[in-house]
Each structure stands twice: as structure tokens, then as C-alpha cells.
Assembly symmetry: none
């Protein structure tokens, strides 16, 4: 596989949402981006606040553009907040540097896309997204 098909994207979203229910999380919003950072599929669960697309997309977009998952971006932001602020200037304010932005890789480590999850704590968002990616037979780098 060199790219994520829509069927795979929908499978990742369904499995992420199922993990959210299993973990008893708040309503989740889940986006899947391609290797260019462009949206393939998105779903926002009933009860989530209206602005969740932007947060989900921002988590995944930063992961793609920097080749670095949300947890690594957060570490960098905690060491050097002005760097991540500058990165956001470069990318038009679309980067949300916290866990829940997850690279989707193949077995060889090649990046196929990214998933962004939001709605619960950042750590729980990450858990649900990793479960979704794994369920689709792919490798999560969160």
C-alpha cells in the first residue's frame, strides 16, 4: 500500500470511534489526512462541540507537515514554545501540537497519512486513534 484508500480511512475512523466507546470517552471527532495533509474523511460524533473539525485537522496536519506526531510536537512546544508558534505562522495557524495527531505508516515505516482525534483528554484521544490505526492493519506513530 502506498496510500490510504477511502475504505481504509473509513475503517480507521470506525475503529477509533469504537475504541472511544470501549474506553468510555467523550464524543470524538476523527479526521484522516493523506500524505499531502489533505482531508480524506472526517466524522464528528453527536454531542461534540461544533469546532472539532479544526482541532482534529490541526493535530493531523502538523504531524504530516513536520513528519512528527503530536506528542513529539508537544515536547518541542514545552521546550521551545516560540518555535512551535513560528511553525504555526509558516503553516497558516493549522498546527495543534498535542497528542492525538498520529502518523499512519506501513510496515516499512513509510508515512501514508495521518489521523487527528479530539474530544477527550489528549492522551485518551491518542489511545483511541492508535487503536483505530492498528485495527486497520497499519502502524501508528503517535
Amino acid at each position: 500500500m502506498t496510500k490510504i484508500s477511502l475504505d481504509t480511512a473509513r475503517q480507521i475512523i470506525a475503529a477509533t470511534r469504537a475504541a472511544g466507546r470501549d474506553l468510555n470517552l467523550n464524543p470524538l471527532s476523527v479526521v484522516v489526512l493523506d500524505t499531502g495533509g489533505h482531508v480524506l474523511a472526517f466524522e464528528r460524533e453527536d454531542g461534540a462541540s461544533p469546532g472539532r473539525f479544526g482541532i482534529a485537522q490541526g493535530k493531523a496536519y502538523g504531524a504530516i507537515m513536520l513528519g512528527m506526531p503530536g506528542s513529539a510536537q508537544m515536547a518541542r512546544a514545552e521546550q521551545q514554545a516560540y518555535f512551535m508558534a513560528a511553525v504555526n505562522g509558516v503553516y497558516g495557524g493549522q498546527v495543534v501540537p498535542v497528542p492525538g495527531g498520529i502518523l499512519v505508516c506501513d510496515d516499512a515505516g513509510a508515512v501514508l497519512g495521518a489521523v487527528g482525534v479530539t474530544g477527550d483528554t489528549s492522551d485518551n484521544d491518542l489511545k483511541a486513534g492508535e487503536a483505530g490505526i492498528t485495527a486497520a492493519g497499519l502502524v501508528a506513530k503517535g
Copy 2:
């Protein structure tokens, strides 16, 4: 019904995509927005170009914000191009004033959200979206 649930949004997208196959259209991208113009769900079919989210969203967003479907926006743009250009300034460049931006209404005519379809001709995008909304038991105003 006073709002579109995620299940209904997914049903609209599935039926719009099915209509696209029946009509033998190019790969479609379909977004469903809520009454505030915020994304509920989106899918981009395999083979569509990467920028399709923005076009789908722009068709549906203008319909919500102005209370006017894409075909009516196009008529206005053809009469008064500078007016629709100005509207786009007001809404941050997010309005795509052509058919395929469709209001989703209940039986009484209340707006519940909007659908944006892109990928084939604007008129075919509209046909597929109308079929999708109708299949979900709702009223399309395209």
C-alpha cells in the same frame, strides 16, 4: 428533527456516492455541515484530486451562511460578480458560488444543514447531492 445526526450525515454521504455511481460520475467528494456551517462528516472518493475538501466545504458553507443554495448564488454572481466577491471577503474566502451547495431542510422548510458535492460538473454534483438528501428522508433545496 432539529439537527442532522452523524448517522444521518453518513447516510446522506453514502446515498450521494451511490447516486454518483449510478449516474456514472467522476469520483465525488461530499461534505455535510450543521446549521452553523461546521463540518459533521466528509468523504473523498479514491481518484479525486487532493483539494476537494475545500471546494465541497465552500459550496455548502455559502449555502448556510447566506441561506441560499449554490444555484441561486451562481445567478447572483452572474448578475453582480463584485457582490459575490465581496461576500467571499466577508466569509474569509470560503464561498464557492456554484451548484452543488445544497440546503438540507425538514418538511416545514427549516434549514437543518447543508451538503456540498464536488468532482463532476456542477449540475451533476447537484443531482447526486439531491438524491443523497432525499434518500435520507430530508428535503433538498439546491
Copy 3:
């Protein structure tokens, strides 16, 4: 009077809305701006589409910034569309150059602020706004 008080702004809005009812217009949205183009008061009638604040504000903002009501802006846009497009670049896309952006003046012709009305045809928006300004004992330049 050298500026519009909040009481006067509310009076203008109430009288504009009353004129809308008398003229049997669609639900109106009405904004009053001060001499700096900043919002004093706004009301959006039930049934109006959600994006009406931006349109009302854009009509009034252009009137203030250029010292020229919406009808004069429209005449300029029809002669020289690229000029009004350039003006919109300068003012951050906040100018909507059609009737319904109305200067509010005192008896000596000094500008005290502007009113923006949207919801019906531009010409009807203008009629309602002029009635509202006149009812408040001020001079409308539409």
C-alpha cells in the same frame, strides 16, 4: 450630537425593524457602527441566515471607511470592479458595496456613524434603514 449613543443606536435598529415589518420584508439584520467603523449594536431577526452579521457590518463598514454610502460604492463597482476589489484588499475583505450601507449624519452633514441592513433586496434594505435613521431624528445618506 457628536456621536451616536447606545440608546440612539437601539432606536435606529427598532425603527428599521419596524419599517421592515411595515414593508413586509424578509427578516432583517441591522448593525450600527460608530465614526471609527466599530460596532455599537446589532440585531438579527429570527429566520435570518446565520451569516448576516458579516454582510450588515460589511455594508456599513465600507460606508464609514470610504465616506460613501453603499449605492455610491455599487455605482463605482459597476464602472470599475477592480477598484472596489482593491479597496476590499485594503480593508481586509470587510466591504460589501451595495445599497443598505447608509451614512448617519447630523443636520450639518457631519458623519456620526453608519447603519448596515441586510435580508431583503438591497433596495429594500436601504429603504428600511433610511426609515430607521429618520425615525431617530437623524439624517440618512444612503
Copy 4:
């Protein structure tokens, strides 16, 4: 009730302003947004500085988009400043994460809109807004 009517929005603003006078606060500016974050009504009291619309709107807008009142946003900003900065990038710089951005809920806890108050200290802004929402028979989540 599933949405805030203009009459209810005006009632909230009137009662918030009355609370400001009772508490002897500085001139207040008060906005009411719908469930999509779009402006229903706004008033700026005489003597307030001209930029108050943007602050009031930013307090209420963040509450709607994140489903989180200003006090909770402030707590998050104090723990993780770069996160709220990133959120502001996502929402176009329209989020003001301090008390005075208040969710308006029905008895069952469903969000009907948000109120933004500015002019005095953030804590006093919050008190006045809560009083206004309660006076209109709705539930404030501040």
C-alpha cells in the same frame, strides 16, 4: 427551546447590563451567539472603548467552538499556553480565553448559544453575564 430567539437574546443583554449597573461595573459590552458561533445581538454601552465587540465575540466564540466556557479555557491556557495559542490559529484568532465567555444551556444541559461580556474585570464580566442568562430563565455555564 432549541435555539435562542432574538427576543431572548435582547432579554439576556438587558439583564446583563442591569446587573452591571447593580454591581457598579464599568460600561459593559455584551454579545449573544447562536449554537454555530454566529452573532444574534450585541450592545456596547456608552463610554466603552471602540474595540469591545471583538473581545466580547472572542470570549463567546471560543466557548461555542470548544464547548468550554472562558474560565475552563483560562485554566488550560495557564497550564499549556501553546495549546490555546494553537487553538486560536485554528479559529482565525477569534478566541479570548478568559472568564466572561459563558455557555447558555437549557435545563437538560444542551448548549443553546453563548454570551460574551467585557468591560470590567473578567470575573465581574462573568458575574454580570451569569445574572443576565439566569434572568432569562436559562442555565449559565461560566
